[in-house]
């Protein structure tokens, strides 16, 4: 059995409720932090742990915390990003619905470290039932003295609120999230200034992913050094992976960073191999925005080393032959999968979710979807493939927020690794089996 840190107790019956959670050692990190540690010491432990943000970018969490501006007399906020909307990613949902108190506990310890007396959990609108679960847990935490005024007689006070979004992917981008939290239209802000200087209501703010905040609990309990010994190189600790697609056992798995991709896909402990004994065709390893890789490149790097589940190894080879760990949304595709159809579906998503502030993303995402739709409709030409490449290239790097890149990378990587499939569709439209049927069966419409 692999190492489990966050999901150690996820199958214990009643762990959703306070009593059982507390019995299993819950809230000890808050006791430790508030009674025996200064806020800076907590931050130091997080730095030592090597924890990197689990929301997608992998930015070192301790470093992010130390960037927090601390002007006197100005409020500070911690905001948990529970917007989880990246296609293929559903780990935060699992964690929050299974062990809500782990997130609450992490929020208290992290807020203490940052000197925030108000904290928010911004959760996507579709998770309204999880918002209830969290609110219940928060009420229990208040009732048991873990939230509110003068917690554990430490003089430290914290109020924690759950705020639901209205179902926009872009509100997962941290500055759009803050706009939405403030009650405005969820448009990403133009940076700088960064949230650590000017965040919620212009006050210094840290935004962290659910899994990142949950990981602070074991870091305080066992020490940053112990956490840093788990994993490999700069990919310390464990990572929650949302595994989906053509595998025998889809679900959320906690893995120790550094296991091989092959082991993750084929071992019975994790995905259990490809469904119906089919062959592996491709994997999108970190949520829909990261580059897709064909089977040979996801199992082995370009120089023949086994590919590992870690930030570094997945990125080995840059975008030419590598990809990213991203948010850990691991989508597996077998030999029957149409890369172009899948790409159309992803692109349709980004078109639908672009906030529309900046020209390249607003116009480019829509244009790419139309070109892909045209190819799938059997009307494509070879120049359309070049055009797609050009459009994504003109979006990438030229937008306000990373959604532009998130929309460009899937297109670039699909063409890079599966160009022949596009060409086949264009030259021989009958090979696009049942395209119309596919649209109808899935009740999909152009966004």
């Amino acid at each position: 059995m692999g190492k489990k840190i966050l999901l150690k107790h996820d199958h214990v019956s009643g762990i959703q409720g306070y009593e059982v959670y507390r019995k299993m050692g819950g809230y000890t990190s808050v006791e430790r932090a508030l009674k025996n540690m200064t806020p800076n010491e907590v931050t130091e432990e997080v730095k030592k742990s090597g924890l990197r943000g689990r929301g997608g970018a992998g930015f070192p969490t301790g470093l992010k915390w130390s960037f927090m501006a601390k002007p006197k007399g100005v409020k500070r906020y911690l905001v948990c990003n529970a917007d989880e909307s990246e296609p293929g990613t559903f780990k935060d949902r699992y964690l929050m619905s299974r062990i809500p108190h782990l997130l609450i506990e992490g929020m208290i310890a992290s807020s203490y470290a940052l000197g925030a007396n108000t904290a928010y959990i911004y959760i996507r609108g579709e998770f309204f039932y999880i918002a209830r679960i969290l609110e219940n847990a928060i009420n229990e935490a208040y009732a048991n003295g873990w939230l509110g005024k003068n917690i554990l007689d430490s003089n430290y006070s914290l109020d924690l609120f759950v705020h639901t979004g209205a179902g926009a992917y872009i509100c997962g981008e941290e500055t759009a999230l803050l706009e939405s939290l403030e009650g405005k239209r969820g448009n990403p802000r133009i940076k700088p200034p960064f949230p650590a200087v000017k965040g919620a209501w212009d006050c210094p703010t840290v935004v962290n992913n659910v899994e990142t905040i949950a990981a602070v609990v074991p870091i305080i309990n066992d020490g940053g050094e112990a956490y840093s010994k788990v994993g490999i190189g700069k990919s310390t600790g464990t990572k929650l992976i949302s595994a989906s697609g053509h595998i025998n056992k889809p679900g959320v798995y906690e893995i120790e960073m550094g296991i091989t991709v092959e082991d993750f896909i084929y071992s019975d402990e994790y995905c259990g191999g490809i469904l119906n004994g089919k062959k592996l065709k491709a994997v999108v390893a970190g949520g829909s925005s990261v580059p897709i890789l064909p089977a040979d490149l996801i199992l082995k790097t370009a120089n023949g080393k086994p590919r590992l589940m870690s930030y570094e190894s997945l990125a080995d080879g840059g975008f030419t032959t590598g990809t990213m760990l991203g948010s850990g949304g691991f989508i597996v595709m077998d030999e029957t999968t149409s890369i172009v159809k899948n790409l159309w579906n992803f692109t349709r998503f980004y078109h639908h979710e672009s906030c529309g502030q900046c020209s390249p993303c607003r116009e480019g995402t829509a244009w790419m979807e139309k070109v892909l739709h045209k190819i799938l409709d059997g009307q494509g030409s070879l120049t359309d493939i070049d055009l797609l490449w050009e459009i994504q290239r003109k979006i990438e790097g030229n937008t306000i927020c990373p959604l532009g890149e998130a929309a460009a990378w899937p297109v670039a990587s699909a063409i890079r690794h599966f160009k022949s499939e596009f060409e086949e569709y264009v030259k021989n439209p009958s090979s696009i089996n049942d395209v119309k049927h596919y649209f109808e069966v899935n009740k999909l419409e152009m966004a």
């Binding site: 078109h351 979710e353 906030c355 502030q357 993303c361 607003r362 244009w367 055009l387 966004a447």
Partner: protein, 332 residues
């Protein structure tokens, strides 16, 4: 004072100056085009991405280049920064892309658009775009919206620069319009078709870089290059009263704020001055407005003339029309 070098030209500027502002101080040749930034509107800029430039050196302190192109209108300069605008093929290429994006859904109905001749999108595409389009899909269209009896919104032409939203927010006493919907479905709209009714609402027309917001009192009366711009003022209790009157013969066809060489209004004007004072007798005429000689409007341009302090209507009528001589200089 921090120093910045743009396309090989160096200038010292005040702290907090953006790359775009510094480039404008250096002059036309190095200034990037800007479709959404507006000097007099706070938080404007960043949206259109036409002003992207390459920062090849971050500063003397941290000389690393910036990893991506940056919006020059929103990036403050650092001491020792080195920037490439027209000298960077990467910038030219990216800008060409932005222009293409701005045009794929633009109706290109210039022949019937009141903005033609003073449209920033026309200038931008002429200078940075390609002659052909690569899109073959139906263009996005919207219904026209009447915003009160003076302003019309033709959303189909809008490039979503957000300037009119900022005008409403910052210089009128209550914003009732904004952006609704997302992505390429975004549109400028009034809240439940509410009419924008405000003393300063007319300024949305001046800031609009394209023909999306037009002056209904001027609609289809003339092409702008057939009108003569004159600087004029009046005593007004709401605004500075400093305007440009656009004449055809003796008739004032429209009134706008005075624009600087970047096409930006220097001082916002009120609706009384803009819409209600259309007689020459309402105004003290200062003289012909200096218009950039590259503009089509400069067909009626009077550069080089000795301008009397105050002109009468008769003086105006006597002003000669300009001709361009062969070397492109204007002459009477």
């Amino acid at each position: 004072m921090p120093k910045v070098t743009i396309d090989g030209k160096t200038i010292e500027v005040a702290d907090g100056t953006t790359i775009l502002q510094a480039a404008r101080m250096l002059g036309k040749e190095v200034a990037p085009p800007a479709m959404c930034f507006y000097t007099n509107l706070k938080t404007s800029g960043g949206y259109c991405r036409t002003c992207l430039v390459k920062v090849s050196k971050g500063s003397d302190k941290d000389p690393r280049p910036m990893p991506k192109l940056v919006a020059s209108c929103r990036t403050p300069i650092m001491d020792g920064m080195e920037v490439q605008n027209n000298t960077s093929p990467e910038v030219i290429d990216a800008r060409k892309g932005v222009v293409e994006f701005l045009l794929i859904n633009h109706p290109l109905d210039c022949p019937v658009c009141d903005q033609a001749g003073e449209c920033h999108l026309q200038d931008l595409s002429y200078e940075n775009g390609s002659a052909k389009t690569r899109t073959e899909f139906e263009r996005r269209t919207f219904n026209k919206i009447e915003i009160g009896n003076k302003i019309q919104l033709h959303m189909t032409r809008c490039i979503l620069c957000y300037r009119c939203v900022k005008v409403a927010e910052q210089i009128t006493d209550g914003r009732v319009h904004g952006v609704i919907n997302r992505g390429d479905h975004s549109e400028i709209s009034t809240y439940i078709e509410e009419v924008i009714d405000n003393d300063f609402s007319g300024n949305v027309i001046d800031v609009c870089p394209v023909g999306a917001l037009t002056d209904k009192t001027f609609r289809f009366k003339s092409r702008v290059w057939f009108t003569k711009p004159m600087s004029a003022h009046r005593t007004c209790d709401k605004c500075s009263g400093k305007v440009t009157l656009w004449y055809q013969g003796d008739e004032v066809l429209r009134t706008t704020g005075r624009k600087d060489q970047w096409g930006e209004v220097e001082e916002f004007i009120c609706n009384t001055c803009r819409f209600d004072k259309k007689l020459t007798s309402d105004w003290t005429i200062e003289g012909p407005t200096i218009v950039d000689k590259h503009s089509v409007i400069s067909a009626n341009h009077y550069e080089g003339m000795i301008i009397p302090n105050e002109l009468t209507l008769n003086d105006i009528k006597k002003l000669p029309l300009l001709e361009k001589n062969t070397d492109g200089n204007t002459e009477f």
